[in-house]
Assembly symmetry: D2
Homo-oligomer: 133 residues x 4
């Protein structure tokens, strides 16, 4: 079963740069929002996970930029849980421009689950169960 989620966002002036397009690093912030909302859609509130002493930092990011996003563009960010490993998770993202659904950016992030001590730990069963349902 594919776990996938979509959010909408709008480009702010703050997101853009002198080329009058969104600065490349800012797409990674939308990837973050995409992940957080995908998790929420499956009943997992990332903030609550952290309160349990479990963190899911990024260990890898990759993004390809196909076309620019500009100030005030409405965007759809699609996020997919591509893999849950023993201690890791991989999310894939696409950012589309609305209403044309032109694909602007495609990327992925890899995360590792760590405890308060910063050491990798298995993905907790409860999270695994929620993401598989």
């Amino acid at each position: 079963m594919v776990v996938e989620h979509e959010i909408l966002t709008r480009v702010r002036y703050a997101d853009t740069d002198t080329m009058r397009v969104v600065y490349y690093a800012n797409f990674l912030v939308w990837f973050e929002s995409g992940r957080v909302e995908l998790l929420r859609s499956k009943g997992i509130v990332y903030r609550d996970i952290e309160h349990l002493g479990i963190f899911i930092p990024v260990i890898e990011v990759q993004a390809n930029y196909l076309a620019p996003a500009r100030f005030d563009d409405e965007l759809l960010v699609r996020t997919r849980l591509a893999k849950i490993g023993k201690t890791s998770m991989r999310f894939e993202n696409e950012v589309y421009k609305l209403p044309s659904m032109e694909l602007l950016c495609r990327g992925h992030t890899v995360h590792v689950v760590v405890g308060s001590d910063g050491k990798p730990m298995p993905v907790p069963d409860e999270i695994r169960a929620k993401l598989s349902s």
Copy 2:
């Protein structure tokens, strides 16, 4: 005695926006660097203060923008400790463009000293002493 400090910085692409000038909020990040380096110049490492459970959050900021900064501009950020109260501190900042020393932005921040419990506490004597020397 006036406690004053100057740092140099350069405008990055990330700092700019669609108007091809620095986005207004990003001047506040330079104010931060100015404060941190002013404190360091007086022997106060802000990171070490936090390790003691003492925090100095911002409770007020004000800035006037007189002329734009653009990508790759070299800037001088001047920071002045304008006041130390019982539990608060006020820093004043000016941002100049180099080499002309055109004044681009002028502002200030007010801070309150708080403990780990988030409650205001007197400015520690050691900090007060270093800032008065």
Copy 3:
């Protein structure tokens, strides 16, 4: 007649800092979103204005921080057009935490209308009319 508008936003990980609260400069980005959406609610699309060669840069910002915002908090940003002068506009903002409606931040921005040459110009009649209706 008071021109006022409210938007909702959610604190992202990217907005926060080592104190585990929203970094002070990031409230200014929400002020921007508040202004852009207030204008849109009155039929003014800021992007279209710029295509006409009219810009409305910030010349002053002020903000008071009353309580921290944290990751994943839902916020209400209220924006009010406080004044339209001959060549300037003043917006006032409040940021509230939901659902308690605790006031976290209060501030304002002052803007000047400029043409493509960067020189101040009167607020265009069409904009003035829409904001007064």
Copy 4:
């Protein structure tokens, strides 16, 4: 001949997040500074290139995060021009923590040279010559 350049930077409060480490997207801003300064070291001022109507946007980024950077850490960012193609360039970056030279992050960006019309164009001979010298 390897074209390589190193810059120093310091982690600002603004760069960090609730995990008390640098937010993953902010490493990409250091990659930018690394590229801009590598070019400058070879006599190429990116701002001047843009004034000629030549732009070098990012079309791909990849980064691996090996260890966290924290507030006030001093970092060394090493940038290497890994390849110049007909219309593209590839830069590789490493971010090290000082003074230990612990490797924190490794990544690369791919860029395409475009004209004012946004269409790919060959890397100008003058740029190619400077980068090969």
